[in-house]
Symmetry: D2
Subunit: 258 residues, 4 copies
């Protein structure tokens, strides 16, 4: 039997505490909704983690056994501990997949992995969004139509301050005149990162079948094919012995980080 893809759906879980409208849409929290939809798939085993848990639910051992981490945050980015961020960052470089959702664009982890501000324009006008599938042959677009409509979403608009993506999968159109690169794939070390724009907390976005299918596809796509620690020493700088002999050179023992 093939091992299932091990997923953690992380959520800051703040709006759920403070806003009835969010509780109404996501009675189990956004994290619960995400884990639930993923657990409908036979090849995925998803659990949840939230800001409020010890170590935000992201202990080293839990992350070491995680293949794909989903990240939803908005109001409490600053409360995420730098130590946990460093841990997630290292795991992504080692091969763990990372899916950053909606307002997670401003999370510490996404900003760190991008090396840019990840700024964008935004507007809460409950306006219509049309999402276009830019690459219909991409694994994340499997079964997704040429375009689909979200009747009410928060507008996210360009300029989106991120590096050029490795793969552009979706682009968004907003009724108020804005455009956005809505689905982007990045390779960083051995890890793959997928940013996906929809998912404002006051709209039932993650209940839309097409959105759910994108998330399932994305989990499968960013899941590591080797192992989730394919590049275990990705932060080491070894003192490398010569492959071709160098006359007179005596190799010293490994000195670790210089």
């Amino acid at each position: 039997m093939t091992k299932k893809i091990s997923v953690i759906a992380w959520n800051e879980n703040v709006h759920e505490q403070e806003m009835q409208v969010v509780r109404d849409i996501y009675p189990q929290g956004i994290h619960g909704c995400l884990a639930g939809l993923l657990n409908e798939e036979k090849d995925i085993l998803a659990e949840t983690a939230t800001l409020q848990e010890p170590e935000h639910g992201l202990s080293q051992s839990r992350l070491d056994n995680c293949d794909v981490l989903l990240w939803w945050g908005h109001a409490a980015h600053a409360q995420v501990s730098d130590e946990v961020v460093a841990r997630v960052y290292e795991r992504v470089l080692q091969g763990m997949g990372l899916i950053v959702l909606h307002s997670g664009h401003f999370s510490k982890i996404f900003r760190r992995m991008m090396g840019t501000s990840c700024a964008l324009q935004w507007r809460e006008a409950d306006e219509k969004e049309v999402i276009w599938t830019v690459n219909p042959g991409h694994p994340i677009a499997k079964g997704i139509p040429a375009h689909f409509i979200l009747e009410n979403e928060e507008m996210y608009g360009e300029p989106f301050v991120v590096p050029e993506a490795n793969e552009t999968v979706f682009m968004g159109w907003f009724a108020g005149g804005n455009v956005f690169r809505s689905g982007l794939v990045y390779n960083r070390g051995a890890g793959r990162i997928f940013y996906f724009q929809p998912g404002h907390e006051t709209h039932p976005t993650y209940h839309q079948p097409v959105i759910r299918k994108v998330l399932v596809n994305a989990v499968r796509y960013v899941a590591p094919r080797h192992s989730s620690a394919a590049w275990k020493n990705v932060e080491d700088a070894p003192n490398g012995a010569p492959i071709i002999p160098i006359p007179g050179y005596v190799h010293k023992t490994e000195q670790g980080l210089r």
Copy 2:
């Protein structure tokens, strides 16, 4: 009269204090050597800055007037203040050019802008390096031969844990059997970054005419064409008004970072 390109050559300036061999090669320090070679050009005005100065010589006002920053560091990466790193990072996103030299691959600023560990293999064997010009038509390769040789360099070898480059300009061959992506260009926000591998402190690398020419070319290439603050608000996330009217929507005043 055209304004000159305003450059700061930054150096941690530690080996120069501790090792006679480095002082013999670089009596003015590596920073002094770099500024000196750039000041031989009519269109460049270079000054120096070092770790030991207040704010490491990189006050906000000085950075605000800087077009291109060169960075040489090795033994003292950890001593660079996070506040100064954040300042340099913001200026790069705004449009300031950044040239990271040799062991600067492990500097806080380069790691931050890359979003990866920037790890690599290394070996101090005074071995021969052959550097190949991968893109002879690139502006940084202007006047540079198809290949050139450094008789003694520290080996830097793959895997080099960086994102795929926007432009690969040079690649290095080492006698001991290693290869390296030696000259890479990255775009981040409005800024351009050039990483250039040669420059171990115990070898007279920055006295080589071909290396000096690469540095001059690189300064001209990463220098901003608009202004060094072409994207002044690159870290802001404005609440954007609709371009196309949305019935019933009343735009609130700017709320800054959410």
Copy 3:
């Protein structure tokens, strides 16, 4: 005195012969309009060429002296000779800049340089387009506002079947619900290519000041910084002598293309 940037504005010049509305907008032809607006700049010297001229006005000697070629075509792509296309292709790899306009997306030369079909969706509905500046710090965006509006343009929509761009400068929003990557930069060999979407023949697009400014910026950006033949032998595969001696190896004379 600095040498001016030598530009050829190429146009198939077919709609101008057949449609009064196009003649009314562009009495000198689209090529005449493009050359005219570029010649308002002190550092640019632009001439025209059309399909109907011998060798389509693109003789080897003319191309050899050209820094930047603009390409407008639509109805007569198939009539462009393969020999001329091969000539332009070689010159781009050598370092000549290429700016492909609007329906030029389906030209032989653009398809050849992209390696993809360059297909897209389209609609002639005279609808409003909002163009967003995705990278306000890019040289092609110098002096261009955060967004600008074309009251009537042909819709070009995703999916646009091109490789991921080296630099994304503009993105377009259309009233009918479509989005498009409207301004893209590609590096190919020593040459730079800029694709720019606006410019349907029945709209006065190239009379818009903001569009004209983009074109001027683009000419300056894709113009070669070395020379227009910086990589003269970009199609050769030389039999390379060893840099490091190989015992027993006798290098034969150059054998050219294998």
Copy 4:
């Protein structure tokens, strides 16, 4: 039961006819060797095709059922019919994987998909090559050591005139002082392309276990995850109906390629 990956190993099959040394190494031809090693895997079903067969063994129906095509050519690139090349090109854009081996860098199909000359330096000196795994976490590097050695290979050296790769997996070091980007991944349309440098006809390269493992990994990596025709209409330019109503606009019937 999961469907196997359907592979065609294509070879021009010319050296095998002309050189005893090649027949000695590859009694079944290079194509036979490639198909044989792939057929050792339970999830792959490989067949062969050669230049000499009708339509070079690449009829439309055969290609329509092919998931991954391997391409080995050298002496007879010019004899490959343009019609077959166009057929392969379309299938790659639709989603079929393509693996281009060694001297296939100069094949019509690779040059067409790259949009560049694909030139490089070469030398037949039977020299040692060290291949470095640049991205140990990449699926194509699964089970491949940090570096491996080929005692005798033809030298292929930079500059390699190709676009920047989507993913750099391997880089090569040659005893004579050259370096090369030896394993590169490109996305084109819905298809993935892997170029892999080793494989000179007079060396038993494809008998090396590590090389065989790379090829197996590569087949799995470039194999389509949807279907091999995930983007069936990748060359069409449809007249797109508005998603958002445009007052007064009457949509005409589809007009196909303009």
